[in-house]
Symmetry: C2
Subunit: 196 residues, 2 copies
């Protein structure tokens, strides 16, 4: 009823995260209505990303240059490496503007359920980066069971390298109410309490 | 930090209905991760829609042919016309598979707030379609204040054409609980009650 082109567009849109068939239909209609101002610029932007963006061969970040602009930036601290699950975590760290070192993107987490073992994470590639200049590896995997399993595995894996392997602190999120926090977080925050 | 191409993509995605800056970022990341299977096909699908889909010069529907496949279909009832706000309403009517006539898309509703007057709706174009063959116009604008104002305006506007102008019935939505219905709907349903 809507023609094969719009049908195909709706079908692809419904595969985007957070969009179901209904919202995909709404987005498709909006795009057709704004053909000149939104649909064509979006098509162009997608092609531009498809043509130019590649995976950094050093750290696994996405950028239009390889090595990526973070790896190539001489002002970044060359002695510290932050290990993250994916590029989404890397972006989150960069938005927070608190880390000045470089990254290492795992591309996944250890998961017995999904059949992802140590070999799938390419930890050899991480180890190969640990030449003499790197003093510390911060493992910033998520605070989930899989994230923490992965963090401990990496800590063990790098134990004989003679460098510091650290992890992000657990605790009360800034702005967080105790009322809404789970017991595990409150326990972790209490155990890691510090004197003023 | 993410490069100009991804930045531009995020900015355009955040202009889609239902997507804010956060979900646009999530969608952009997903697209970059699925470059071959999702990003490039989506770019192609958007270009295809941009190249082929046009507005039907008869009814205002979107289709790759003009007149659209509904207007051109000889099996559709040529004596009845359904007036809708936009193509979204037309799609909803078609999904319901209850209407066999043809459509007329207004492209908006009367709105003092948005400064949309009768001249902006192109009602002359609607009147021009009412040659001898059309016996009834069903005004299926939404059951909002603006939708109903528009419906009454159209009914007055076509009063001297000598054809039936009708509107969709108000009442309890099928599957609807009275508990969750507003008073206006319950009142309308009671006034329009029918004997079994």
């Amino acid at each position: 009823m809507v023609g094969p082109e719009i049908e195909r567009l709706m079908q692809l849109l419904s595969r985007l995260p957070g969009l179901g068939p209904r919202s995909a239909r709404r987005v498709a209609l909006h795009l057709v209505e704004k053909r000149e101002t939104l649909l064509l610029p979006l098509a162009k932007a997608l092609s531009a990303v498809g043509d130019s963006v590649k995976t950094c061969s050093v750290c696994g970040n996405f950028d239009s240059v390889d090595p990526c602009s973070i790896c190539a930036d001489p002002r970044r601290d060359q002695t510290i490496l932050c290990v993250v699950e994916g590029v989404g975590s890397l972006w989150a760290m960069e938005r927070a503007s608190v880390f000045s070192g470089r990254y290492h993107v795992l591309g996944g987490l250890l998961s017995a359920l999904d059949g992802i073992g140590p070999d799938d994470l390419g930890l050899g590639r991480l180890r190969a980066r640990l030449d003499g200049s790197i003093r510390e590896v911060v493992v910033a995997t998520p605070a989930t069971v899989e994230g923490q399993t992965t963090a401990h595995y990496i800590a063990d894996f790098l134990a004989d390298c003679g460098i510091t392997v650290s992890g992000l602190a657990h605790g009360v999120p800034v702005g967080g109410e105790l009322d809404y926090l789970d017991d595990g977080t409150i326990g972790a925050a209490l155990r890691a309490r510090r004197s003023f």
